[in-house]
């Protein structure tokens, strides 16, 4: 059995474990450790690696944003901010069919403009919006699906951690990539809202109806969100004004919401304890998966399956567009079981040179920008495709009464809009490039 065979065999094993309700992080750890054993003929490599890998993953600076944004969401809820924020959003949008879910997507897009991470956007907006969606009679299926998809706007709308990594891997201009990401990001938000509108018409029982709010009511609702605005403006201003890293912004946000909750009387000894415990269980869940994905991805890299697959596609002398479709399909398939950051780190160094050599009728720089945005979208789709979709887990962990299978069903229409958007952006590179062409 070759290493490639072992890697190919690991997919059904991983899926079997996951579908037998073994915790997903645990399933990836076991498959990764087992795979490493079969490739090396011993546990020596993986055991030696585990001496440092756990601490390295848990203490990673960029991942520290996750518990910080989770606790920020807890404090925001304690301070009554999620209620008032959502009231404002739904007085403006809520009377439409599916309007509260649309408001949630809009709020995710707004949050995405200050946050470079999908997980953090999903976690924060989930904390804020999920209770409200349920209060207005939205089904768990639709509510968790919309929020998981909305969370991906955190990475689609710049700034985006993944784009920064892509820029470094491919030696591209970060600012131009951010500009190129903007129109596709807005299209994503619009696509999600259309998906909601169609969904509630096909499944009328899945969303409650809300009366149209009067304009005085609407403006009054805006007054109630000033603490949120202050925190958000501090965070936005801090990042764009060049004062904070995203992790620092998360800490500032948590501090600000904590202070507001304290002033509103929402933050007491017992509610603080509850906030910490809720943050703890979600953080433990997410980090076990991140850790498991790290071990599993290291095993895949060791087997050289991703590299071999990439080399095969590149060596066949295919039509460039056919290769592009194959690469995107490969990303979608890998995205079902892998996390986006590892996927970028693993595949871009191999795919990018191959794809650059093919002729798409673009200059090298335009190709790099366009390819980067398309890859960004497809790896981001991986965050919401079952069975392993980090955003699905983050949101589902907050919806205690919604089984994961319902979230899987609920996210389907959103994945569908993602696929349609990828197809359109692939066929018409100009949509992605027009903003860069105008500004530079």
């Amino acid at each position: 059995m070759t290493n490639i065979d072992i890697a190919l065999l690991s997919f059904p094993v991983l899926l079997a474990l996951i579908f037998l309700r073994i915790p997903i992080g645990l399933a990836m750890l076991i498959t990764g450790i087992g795979g490493s054993y079969f490739i090396n003929g011993s546990f020596l490599m993986i055991f030696a690696q585990l001496k440092n890998l756990t601490w390295g993953t848990f203490s990673g600076y960029s991942l520290s944003i996750i518990p910080l944004f989770l606790i920020m969401g807890q404090f925001a809820t304690l301070g009554g901010m999620s209620q008032s924020l959502f009231k404002a959003a739904e007085t403006w949008l809520g009377h439409r069919k599916g309007g509260v879910a649309m408001a949630a997507v809009g709020a995710c897009a707004g949050f995405g403009a200050i946050c470079g991470s999908s997980l953090a956007t999903a976690a924060t907006m989930g904390q804020v919006a999920l209770p409200e969606l349920r209060r207005y009679g939205y089904s768990g299926e639709l509510a968790t699906g919309a929020l998981a998809a909305g969370g991906t706007l955190g990475i689609l709308i710049p700034p985006s951690v993944i784009l920064v990594i892509y820029a470094i891997l491919t030696e591209q201009n970060i600012a131009k990539l951010f500009v190129a990401a903007f129109i596709p990001g807005v299209l994503a938000a619009i696509g999600y809202m259309i998906a909601i509108a169609i969904y509630v018409r096909l499944k009328p029982g899945s969303a409650g109806q809300r009366e149209r709010a009067s304009y005085p009511e609407r403006f009054q609702s805006l007054l109630a969100v000033w603490p949120v605005l202050i925190v958000f403006i501090a965070v936005v201003g801090g990042i764009y004004g060049g004062i904070f890293t995203p992790t620092e912004a998360a800490a500032i946000g948590a501090f600000g919401t904590g202070v507001i909750a304290l002033m509103n009387g929402g933050l007491t000894r017992s509610s603080l304890k509850l906030s910490i415990l809720t943050t703890a269980s979600a953080t433990g869940m997410i980090f076990l998966i991140v850790f498991g994905a790290g071990v599993y991805n290291a095993f895949l890299a060791l087997s050289q399956l991703p590299q071999t697959a990439a080399a095969y596609v590149g060596s066949q002398g295919f039509n460039p567009w056919l290769v592009m479709v194959c690469v995107l399909l490969l990303y979608l398939v890998f995205g079902c079981v892998m996390d986006s950051l590892s996927m970028i780190l693993l595949t871009v160094p191999i795919f990018f040179p191959i794809m650059s050599a093919l002729d798409f009728g673009l200059t090298p720089e335009e190709f790099a920008l366009w390819f980067g945005i398309i890859v960004l979208i497809v790896v981001e789709v991986g965050l919401i495709t079952p069975p392993v979709g980090m955003n699905l887990f983050v949101i589902n962990a907050m919806a205690k009464d919604t089984p994961l299978s319902a979230t899987y069903r609920g996210v389907f229409p959103f994945v569908l809009t993602d696929v349609i958007r990828v197809a359109i952006l692939t066929m018409f590179p100009a949509i992605t490039l027009v903003a860069v062409r105008l500004l530079y």
Binding site: I22, G60, I243
Partner: protein, 176 residues
Amino acid sequence: MFERIDRLIRWLAAVMAILGGIALIAVILSTVASVSGRALLFIGLGPIRGDFELVELGTGFAVFAFLPWTQINRQHASVEILTMHMGGVINRLIDLVGDGLMFAIAVLLAWKHWQGTLDKLAYGETTFVIQYPLWWAYASGLVGAFGFVLISFWCVILSIRAFVTGRDQVHGEIVH
């Protein structure tokens, strides 16, 4: 007796999670202080030297300390799409197998992290800026790592009990 041990175990997991939460709040406060200092360079203040390293120290300790709490409350993400249609006996068996595997992984991680800590102690490695000994940081993770072993062992006991008695465990509930 059984109930008393169960309460003690849950209390221990909660205590560790809250210690982790306190570390997280310390991370928030030190980051706010550092960012404020950096913004006020002109009046002679400055960032906390090595603030990134403090964030890493605090988060690393916290995440380890959170694992037992996630485990005792069965908060790990899993897919129940197939098993929900299976019988109670099969599900209790799956619980038992899953908890057994989690316990094995917990032991492996604690054992390896312990060795990693000893390595860092032996090498005398420090961080870049503050230059605190790295083994302190690793050792702080041992609290949660050993807690995870204990709590996931107790989960195996709970699963055996549920399997033998045929009574389902409470799932997805946070007990305070």
